[in-house]
Amino acid sequence: MLFNSWPFLIFFTVFFVLYWFGFGKNLRLQNLLLLVGSYFFYAWADWRFLFFLIGVSAFNYFLGIYIEKSHSDKNRKWLLYVGLLQGIGGLAFFKYYNFFVVSVNEVLASANITVGLETLNIIIPVGISFFTFRTISYLLDVDKRKMEATKDWVVFFNYVSFFPSLLSGPIDKAKMFVPQLEKTRNFEYGNASEGMRQILWGLFKKIVIANNCAPITTEIFGNYQNLPASSLLLGAFLYTIQIYADFSGYSDMAIGIAKMLGFSITKNFDFPFFAQNIAEFWRKWHISLTAWLTEYVFTPLSISFRDYGNLGLIFAIIINFTIIGIWHGANWTYVLFGFLHGCYYIPLILNGTMNKKKKIAKGKWLPNLRESISVLTTFLLVMLTFIVFRAQSIAEAWHYFERLFSMSLFSKSPQLRIPVLVLIAFMMIVEWLSRENDHVFERLELKWKKPLRFAFYCLVLTTIFLFSSEEQQFIYFQF
């Protein structure tokens, strides 16, 4: 059930009414309704894995309690390892088993050894990467005593399967989300209207921007051998915009829906295309994943390697980003994508600017020349890696690059669609003007009078209606 679909509108309207009017006064019943709603939502996507989701939730629920109850450190660690084995093992089996088999066969074949390991016909449970990271975060936090294991199974099961963020994140850490499930939620007008505004902007990005870029990028990446370099450049640019609009659009909708239900979930994007270097870009892009990996992977690694100075830091960063890459799926292109981003950090680590935070054009309308160059360079570096991300194989990405850097770069692309570029410019201008806010329409009711607000909503809705393109699946559903 896509957020931008008719069935979801009906589901959410009924759910919202029941949630606040029917069960609003009883937290336990409200949480039960939330769980039923989440399972209904998940079953709509793929009912076959509903039992897997319930099983994973039950297993980690009991494991959390046993970890907490265990007095011996050794037992706690063993229980934690069992949990990690289930989480990472499940992920490895469903997402990476075939990739592993194919890679092993290829490596052995290159040494003239034939083992003939066979691939399996595996269907990946929708959202597995997202709910697995939730359960792992919960077990790690309970083990480190950063939070208490919850004894309320409805709360825990809701944490794992909270429907707004179940299929594509954001990935909330348990210590941030579980307490919200445990306390009474009251309807707040400000939160609900903020939520609706965020949903509106998310819809705009998904329906108008991402769905209109998708046919062009599909055409260009599907036929890149026969197109001029200018088309390939356009394809790389549009795909970068598409993946941002698609994923951040989904995240905005998820956050907005959660707000309407009285929850505050992790922000996932913070206007990443205005980042002035790669480190800043990753502080603004898929924030929930990078924050998760920073806490549970990068920080422990950098502590382990601290004796090696910058070299240790570089090593920790490259491992961290390679994991980010492979988290996206079983393909060497994702590994390379992550590795390249890790490498982009090296100059920043060497000149000590990795953690420097500098707001762009603070208090000004436009950035200065230096900021503009930094922003454009960062965008260009990111765009080049998205060619690798989008390609079916590293060889394909390589051929794409070979064709990209040729004289036909200066010809006119036959795939150029001016209206799509105008819509992208509109999105970028609105985001630029909102760059210091939490999200695009934050506290709009305090800044604009109602008629102006309504006029703006009408304008956005008009573009959504008029420029709605062929329905496209959210890109991050596959991860």
């Binding site: 007008y189 609900a192 609706m196 309504f454 909503y457 809705l461 008029l466």
Partner: protein
């Protein structure tokens, strides 16, 4: 909660009223179209003995007005360049719903892409959007999953699309000039062609799109049911005919349609000066082919 619901309702009312301003675009866009043939069909103005229905091979290669003169029967061409067999099925359905059934339908085949996936021939839904003021057209878009039935009744903005906002009078292009009989012959040759003769390919039913095959069968069945003589045409191509494709068509029509093949012995079909490009005749070639076709039809209608 009360404030939230009230504000939501207020915005709903404002948007509902604002949306109605777009009725202008819905109602006027049909008048600005230069190709009126689909609207003629909807208004019951195409009551002819012979209908030519197909893609650009029908539009460019067959001159309905010439058939009319040569065999003394009324004829009209409702072929749309770049349209596929699903669109032709829609045209036939529309023709029969609002007009008198013709005696004969001439349908050029699009070898080899009639049933296989292609980007060059599609369901021309952008031809439908200027006519969304007609409920029949809106329903077709709903049936095709382009629109939602309820939303398109409630909101004009959902019913139209961005093309409706262009209220400039459309004009013919040199390739798309339509004659009063609906045909669109082209009087020049497409520049930059390679003119490679004899393209061989393997036809496999495994590549077929089921929806296209079903649409084709529906056309054949409808013509049989309504006692309309269906003549499937292989029109001149600057390349070889593939017997595998022809056999496939024969199997699908099961003697419920006649297949007419152009005179492959005629040397003009080997002369590129009679062609617009490898797949289409130019006007000079279309006149010759139409004459050849009219001769064939004289004895059959």
């Amino acid at each position: 909660m009360k404030k939230f619901v009230l504000n939501l309702l207020l915005f709903g009312i404002v948007f509902f009223i604002y949306d109605k301003a777009f009725i202008v675009f819905k109602n006027l866009s049909a008048d600005k179209e230069v190709d009126k043939r689909l609207e003629f069909l909807l208004n019951g103005k195409i009551n002819k003995d012979i209908i030519v229905m197909g893609s650009s091979r029908g539009a460019d290669n067959i001159i309905a007005g010439q058939i009319e003169k040569e065999i003394g029967k009324t004829a009209y061409n409702i072929s749309y360049p770049a349209s596929n067999v699903e669109f032709h099925e829609f045209l036939l359905r529309t023709l029969l719903k609002f007009n008198k059934p013709p005696k004969m339908i001439l349908m050029p085949l699009d070898e080899p892409v009639e049933f296989i996936p292609t980007n060059t021939q599609v369901f021309r839904d952008e031809r439908l959007y200027p006519l969304v003021k007609y409920d029949y057209i809106n329903q077709e878009l709903v049936d095709r999953g382009e629109k939602n039935a309820l939303l398109s009744q409630l909101f004009v903005l959902h019913r139209i699309n961005k093309t409706n906002l262009n209220l400039r009078q459309k004009k013919f292009t040199p390739e798309d000039t339509i004659m009063p009989c609906g045909s669109m012959p082209i009087s020049f040759q497409k520049p930059g062609r390679k003119w490679i003769y004899e393209i061989n390919y393997t036809y496999s039913t495994a590549n077929e799109v089921q929806r296209k095959v079903e649409a084709f069968k529906k056309i054949v069945a409808t013509c049989k049911k309504r006692h309309i003589k269906l003549v499937l045409l292989t029109v001149p191509n600057y390349k070889n005919l593939n017997p595998a494709f022809e056999n496939r068509v024969r199997k699908l029509v099961n003697n419920d349609a006649v297949i007419y093949q152009y005179n492959t012995q005629n040397p003009i079909y080997l002369d590129k000066s009679y062609f617009y490009d490898e797949n289409h005749l130019n006007k000079k070639g279309a006149v010759i082919f139409t004459h050849e076709l009219a001769d064939y039809l004289k004895s059959r209608i």
